[in-house]
Symmetry: C2
Subunit: 521 residues, 2 copies
């Protein structure tokens, strides 16, 4: 099974429509991309805590909410709503009677929801037994073998949207796939959202850097989907980070308020480097995370009961020597798996993990750390996986080579999640009877019948003999990945977009850009 | 938590015993190696099949044993023993009434056993909730950044034994850490076993390339431990591979017979590249694996009821394009996890996995593949993990850099297996009360109290800032690993060995070497 593979068959239609050797060569090597639907997990959930352990964490979260409380800064409306809901308010500090937040969340927040895409085949279900992969989010830099590390531009942004569009196991176009620092801060969100709409047909995320930018995102979605459709359906999922420990700030709350009231989804996410933003222990971190999520998701429900909200956690720890964040280490893995259990008990979708690493380059460190993050992310039942592909350097750089390497790993997760085929064909008893002892299965009829789909085919790994690998230049994985992402971008074709909608989107963007001077605040 | 780390404290004792700047520098940077005991897993077992799925596989294995049968080649005694036990024998083909093998194994094979080491602190428990990591086994080549790829020598062999000895999370010295091709085939086993005894104090594996070489291994163990001790205790665990599909050959059976009758442990292991040695499907592969293990482990119990025997499986699949083996892909992961479940139902210890990869070099491919193999290996409850460190190129090369990279990952698995600390200190409620919203935990008393042990400290990962990493030469993980293994070998000190025993070992080896001419057969 493989999404990205070379089409070695004749590709007759295409060949006839062009002429000459070049066209035949193009046809022979044309990329055939079969998109995968979002994952429906068939493997058992991986857990770490038992009932007693989970109860301890939940009890401690309630203690934090009750005794310590959470700061709600620069968002008086949220404070007022909590006062009305029965919380104890002192200035910006809100303390919550035990169980209050949980009750509010469980009363109205949906257990799962559909995020619609402009191509209905790319709609995703977020929650339950579904897993959705989205690309890296946030880096101001990019890295490639060609350019090394440099600031990201809107062209890079478009490139990563295109690569995500062409990656079969990336189900979601994501949000800030890199930060286009060549555009003014107060307007770049328009180009970012437009790029997701224009260059992909997968679902996307919205701007959260200011409430009015969230409002722009909703307006663009209304143009794309129709205002009626957006009023009734979720077409945007956005990332609302806590300012851990135990602070929600006005910018994020303001963006969440816009989205929630437009029926759009928010991922309330404590951003944790344990040891800095939370205690140095997993159990302490988990209690704080749960307290922050309960207060954030509860706020979402107060803004608009029933608006989709996700239990998010970004779990990392810091080097106790340097204070630098570390990734792919065991402690954050335990936090993520336990948090998934807490989210299921709360009854809302869950987000964590991805392909996280501290490495600056797509080397062995990057891959060990990413794999050690990604596999548990799938196994623990994460519903929405941000940073699925492209993350480097603790999130400071989006890597071109890393992106296609990770996308290959996501494809493997997609196969793993299917579990073992126990059909008669899967059991293959007749093949064993046919072949018998001391021979091999290479040519037997069962092998021939299952040839195409038997095993995942990596787009990056070199499995050839040492001699062949050496004859082909002794390349490492990053060098092969460099060829692959360039080829994907070369062969990219935009999904069709209704020209009238495209014009309307561009008109809105032009109007908004004209309304205020450029600013980098 | 870290086993290999630089000692930054004063190291007063050592400093006083030497003089001058060099001694102070040496003391300042001396390696402090704290060995970890074998893992006792505190995380829940990961599974893939339910009761019904497992029953299907077990039924199919019995069908294979009954209808197709297993070849027992060049070992008439095994055939005779099976005939006596009620099997249906036609020449070298043995067919087994349903349940016969299982009954024989379950009647006498131990659920777990202790393998004793010459240093009692290094004894390992194999089975149950214990996991033991051993290094790579078998490669004829080595790879390092310095030498590239070349044939392995006995010096390389000693080096890998030393590196395993100095790796805190490698609990077992292993066997053929590389194949010393500079020594004659018929005598190199003597130098290999001696190297494990001399340069490490961890438990080790025995020769299986001929019954008389297995006998030499037992003799050397008797010299080391005393004949009485060896008669009553297991001090050798050895790898007995099936010649899949469905063949046991005389060499491997002969070696197993020697070990079993000396009360030593065997790992009966179908060596599977699915699609070649087994069907292209996981369920088909599993049924065949179980049939092979049942017949092999059963043979072990017929040789000597009660001799320790491990359910082994080496699970890989092949590229359907080239026929080359692939690693770190989802299908073998599913096979390994399900096989662990089958082993638990059978009631004997389990071996699979390791840090397997197809990559020729310690690049991102190697790391993705190794991590995707290693984590499930731990999670599914594997008791004995061969190839835990150093494996490259589908097992054709032992990598120096790969070895220390993997050893670092094994350390992480050791921490992961501890699960979350739910003690009062782990819950850290007081830390959260002390710190409160909007500040940080860096200097709080709880963080200070847990500073040393809070997070796993990688010996390979660079978590520094981009600027610092660049200033230090912008090295990749392999370059840092190159420095680490050289440093370890430089600072290696042999564990003390009773000179009388050492002499006796050497005398036995000299006598055996003199007894026959060198031969490469």
């Amino acid at each position: 099974m493989s999404g990205v593979e070379e089409q070695t068959a004749g590709a007759g239609e295409r060949r006839r429509s062009r002429g000459g050797a070049e066209a035949r060569r193009a046809a022979r090597t044309a990329l055939k991309i079969e998109q995968f639907p979002y994952i429906v997990r068939k493997i058992p959930l991986v857990t770490v805590l038992d009932e007693e352990g989970l109860s301890i964490i939940e009890r401690n979260a309630d203690t934090i909410l009750q005794e310590v409380g959470i700061e709600f800064r620069d968002e008086p409306e949220a404070v007022k709503l909590w006062q009305g809901a029965g919380a104890d308010v002192k200035g910006t500090r809100i303390r919550f009677p035990r169980g209050l937040c949980r009750g509010i969340v469980q009363k109205t927040a949906p257990r799962e929801y559909i995020q619609y895409a402009r191509n209905p085949e790319r709609n995703v279900r977020i929650g339950g037994d579904a897993t959705v992969f989205a690309p890296v989010y946030g880096p101001p830099f990019i890295r490639s073998l060609d350019d090394g590390r440099r600031y990201a531009t809107i062209e890079d942004f478009r490139n990563f949207v295109k690569l995500a569009y062409m990656s079969p196991a990336i189900h979601h176009s994501g949000g800030t796939v890199c930060e286009p620092v060549d555009l003014p801060v107060n307007k770049r969100h328009l180009d970012m959202v437009y790029s997701h709409i224009k260059y992909s047909d997968k679902p996307f995320m919205g701007s959260v850097t200011a409430p009015e930018r969230a409002a722009d995102t909703v307006e663009l979605a209304r143009i794309l989907f129709g205002a009626d459709f957006v009023a009734k359906n979720t077409v945007i999922t956005s990332l609302i980070n806590a300012n851990s420990p135990m602070v929600w700030d006005g910018t994020m709350l303001g963006a969440m308020k816009v989205y929630a009231r437009a029926n759009q989804a928010s991922i309330t996410t404590p951003f944790i480097l344990a040891g800095a933003m939370s205690p140095v222990t997993a159990a302490g971190t988990l209690a704080q995370v749960l307290a922050e999520v309960l207060s954030g998701a509860g706020t979402c429900q107060l803004y608009n009961p029933g608006a989709p909200v996700i239990f998010g956690v970004f779990a990392s720890s810091i080097s106790m020597q340097s204070g630098a964040p570390t990734f792919g280490t065991p402690e954050p893995t335990l936090v993520s798996i336990a948090a998934a259990q807490l989210a299921r008990r709360l009854g809302i979708p869950f987000r964590t993990g991805g392909s996280l690493c501290a490495s600056k380059i797509p080397d062995a460190q990057a891959a060990y750390e990413s794999a050690q993050t990604l596999l548990p992310t799938l196994q623990c039942g994460t519903n929405f996986v941000l940073h699925g592909a492209g993350w480097l350097e603790g999130g400071l750089a989006s890597g071109y080579e890393k992106f296609v390497m990770d996308a290959d790993q996501l494809g493997m997760m997609q196969v793993l999640a299917k579990n073992i085929d126990l059909s008669e064909n899967g059991q293959a008893l007749d093949a064993i009877r046919e072949v018998g002892p001391g021979t091999h299965f290479l040519g037997c009829s069962h092998t021939q019948a299952n040839f195409e789909t038997a095993f995942y085919r990596s787009s990056i790994a070199d499995n050839n003999s040492f001699e062949q690998w050496e004859a082909e230049g002794a390349q490492d994985a990053a060098q092969r990945a460099n060829k692959l992402w360039k080829r994907l971008l070369r062969e990219y074709e935009a999904p069709p977009l209704d020209p009238a909608i495209d014009e309307a989107l561009q008109a809105y963007i032009a109007k908004r850009k004209a309304a205020s001077p450029d600013s980098n605040v």
